[in-house]
């Protein structure tokens, strides 16, 4: 298996991991255009993420949670490829492409409070590359190991440049103790080239437990050392964090009774549409990476 095209961000091809520089800007747009001011844009550029407390109103959160419950009990959803269940008890963990199966989530993904900053940061019109609802149960919530989304999107989906961002919308409280999102500040400015080849169709497994595109200990240590720490994103229901596609992030498990439910929306620049995957494999299905 070899790469079919030259990549500025090679991964899963060499026997040793490497920390490579980022070749793309972080902020592509202009502070003068708004809605984010120069201060917030500058911080996003520096640390790779932006936290927005109470972006959604409580009634919106209630409505979205009800919509999640509806999806989680819809037999068509549960039996579709879009649904990912817990390895153990088959509880619903994630539903992908929620903006295509739910008018409510379609509206959320088109909400100017999310799209506006995305458009400004990415310096162009944007489209939804991926959307999903993630439910992390209480008592038995599993960890999500460190990863750069861009590494996967580049190698497996053919996203050419680091010109996308994720929006994580909390429908429940993110606490210090219930497996909340952790980000390594500044990690988006370097690229961890991972080891290990990728077998075809591995995505079915990787949605449950990662095996490929896993950063090595030494690179992670270097990123954390440079950052001087790790940011655990806490906040109430309705809070939002936007983060760069190459920000190194993950989450610990959750043995507390506090379940978590978040919506993820990935906005990609219309000037950064997918090409052939840089890892040389067939593209993953559209519900994971929009190619329409």
């Amino acid at each position: 298996m070899t790469a079919t095209q030259t990549s500025r961000y090679p991964s899963r091809v060499e026997p040793v991991p490497r920390l490579l520089p980022r070749h793309d800007p972080v902020v592509w747009g202009d502070a003068s255009l708004g809605p984010l001011d120069a201060d917030r844009l500058g911080r996003y550029e520096r640390v790779g993420f932006l936290e927005m407390e109470s972006l959604l109103r409580p009634d919106e959160v209630t409505e979205l949670l009800a919509e999640v419950d509806r999806l989680a009990t819809d037999p068509d959803i549960l039996t579709s490829e879009r649904a990912v269940r817990e390895p153990g008890d088959q509880t619903l963990r994630s539903v992908f492409e929620v903006h295509r199966v739910s008018e409510r989530f379609a509206a959320l993904c088109a909400d100017e409070r999310l799209v506006g900053p995305a458009r400004q940061i990415l310096g162009s019109d944007v489209y939804v590359h991926q959307s999903r609802v993630n439910r992390k149960p209480g008592f038995r919530g599993r960890e999500f190991y460190w990863h750069s989304d861009f590494e996967t999107w580049h190698i497996e989906d053919g996203m050419p440049a680091m010109r996308a961002l994720s929006v994580s919308i909390s429908l429940t409280a993110n606490r210090i103790d219930n497996g909340s999102l952790m980000i390594i500040p500044g990690s988006h400015r370097r690229y961890v080239s991972c080891v290990g080849e990728t077998p075809d169709d591995h995505y079915r497994q990787s949605l449950r437990a990662q095996e490929y595109g896993v950063p090595d200990d030494e690179s992670l240590q270097a990123l954390v050392d440079d950052a001087g720490g790790i940011r655990t994103v806490v906040g109430g229901a309705g809070s939002v964090v936007m983060f760069d596609c190459n920000a190194m992030h993950g989450s610990n498990g959750n043995i507390t009774p506090y379940a978590r439910c978040n919506v993820f929306v990935v906005f990609n620049s219309v000037e950064n549409r997918l090409v052939e995957p840089f890892g040389g494999l067939s593209p993953r299905p559209g519900f994971l990476a929009d190619r329409s």
Copy 2:
């Protein structure tokens, strides 16, 4: 399998879990005797634990960490029953009975800064029921699910009353993100009677992953609801937390690079020495529960 003697704290005998009242005092001693004042004793009685920042000096911490490293590379220790390794990579996770294999740890277990408060809380002379060093590695630190130590010590070791306490001594920083000890405040005042029988000799497995004496979701939820939350014990190296033998505690996994190393010492009242296990099985070995 049936219990050989009547227990005030039955567990692993009934098909449904139950929340039972505590029949023993929490504080057995007197505030006037010191070293803890009435305020601190009262708080311990109410919440079930006591945090002491910087109890050990930095040079003591350094010395103890060096001693842990020595034990972790001692072939006699590594191959003994006292050593517990990670299921995956065989890294040393714990060494039991450290006060018997190390003069340095023997001195620590006899240190008046630890023994004084223990004697006062338990209202008598005390002895070391169990001691161990726990190493929770970075990147791949596993969770430790909720449990009451007393449940195990009563059922498997024959500890008659709730008249013991654990002292956890941090040799590294306990952070919000690296799988630090979590305690449910006030949980020590009730007893979760767990379901499921206990096979003989299961302790070899249970030191790696718990299967017996695991509290049910509903009881945990009730304890957390009553407490109004969970306390994550953070603090610098050299800090200490003492907690009641029946305090419900656990810890999340740890994907951060921040490894943790703690020493646990369990002091039991000399008036609470072990009898036959209340679960009707043979007693566990002495390195887990001193019967000398």
